[in-house]
Amino acid sequence: MEDDYYSVESILAENQKIQCAFKIDIADMGHLDGGNERDIKAQSKIQVPMWMAYILIYSDYAEFTIPPPFSARVRNALNAEARSVRLSSLVGQGGLWYGFGIMIMRLLSDVPAHELSDVLTKTFRSRLPEVIDQAHHFASIHGAAASASGSGGGTITSDEATMAFREGLDGTERELFVLAQDSARRTKRWYETSERTRRS
């Protein structure tokens, strides 16, 4: 997430591929596409990882298209109900949707970058309360789900919804989930344990 030289996560986020359309012929680089061609022809579209795309785009060798995780279709879905979109399935399990978004944002010019920033911010803010809520009540949600399945077929739809939401968390949200869960657990333990034995 952070744009830090030493951050393993930011290196991993750069592994996402985006589609680039080359503007010029490049000799002997056909293997990038995995095909049998020897050279890259102008106008050909090739998926390249972000870390390579930067230099291609900045050197004006290629143009890029907005990748599918940030397409209009996804944006509409996020606008309708951000909490029902599975971010993790957009960028692969444990993927960093926000991190990827920030990278794309930096490549874009002013107006579209602003739009993307709005989408990212709005999505994050509308999903955050649900993330924290679930983290705090994880034990009870889990217990309810277990007892529901134990009682035989009495599945509750809201349980499935929370489960689906949790599976749809992107890497950054997962991290927040764990942070919230840990601190809630620690505080709860403190409230519940009596110190009397330790003191006397």
Partner: protein, 189 residues
């Protein structure tokens, strides 16, 4: 860093309790003791019928040896807490409570519940207040902003509980929000 991740972001509840135990509390001593110097200061002298102010850690220590009664602070009683609970549930903002009330209340109720009037009622009131405030701080999550968050009257334990993920999510938001000055520079060009 060698610290596990949860400890990097905030201190533990037990550490907060330790800090809170430096606060002074009134005791009625049952033993006499001359004024004695400790690292944090000199306390005493203890003259049995007279009240005396000592740190909570010392009060609990004496209490467990049955050498004093602890006078609970004026906010640790049913009437005051009932009033705060009513305010907490009827008004949108956090009501005013001592900054370290959760820690102090827990230590005193653990060690000297016989000195507090109606300790079970006090316990359940504290629990209710805690839950009411928790739901408010959860609402605060939706108001989260990349630059500031104002939640007045939040107490040490509550701040500590929400700190790790509030700080992290504000960090994320900072990155998601595009710097406005950057946009203005682009417009001028």
């Amino acid at each position: 860093m060698a610290l596990p991740p949860p400890l990097r972001t905030s201190i533990t509840p037990a550490e907060l309790e330790l800090i809170a135990c430096e606060q002074l509390v009134e005791i009625i001593p049952l033993v006499a003791m001359e004024r004695t110097a400790f690292i944090s200061g000199a306390y005493g002298p203890l003259r049995p019928p007279a009240k005396c102010k000592v740190p909570i850690w010392m009060a609990t220590n004496l209490k467990l040896k049955k050498k004093c009664h602890i006078v609970p602070p004026e906010w640790l009683n049913v009437d005051f807490l009932q009033d705060r609970l009513t305010r907490e549930t009827t008004q949108p903002e956090f009501s005013e409570l001592p900054f370290r009330f959760a820690e102090v209340a827990k230590v005193l109720l653990d060690v000297a519940s016989d000195d507090v009037t109606n300790p079970d009622k006090v316990r359940s009131l504290l629990q209710d207040i805690r839950e009411a405030r928790q739901s408010k701080s959860r609402e605060g999550v939706s108001k989260l902003d990349h630059s500031e968050l104002s939640l007045p009257n939040l107490c040490a334990m509550e701040i500590n509980e929400i700190r790790p993920f509030f700080v992290r999510s504000m960090g994320v938001l900072t990155q998601l929000v595009r710097q406005p000055d950057q946009g203005q520079v682009d417009e001028m060009q």
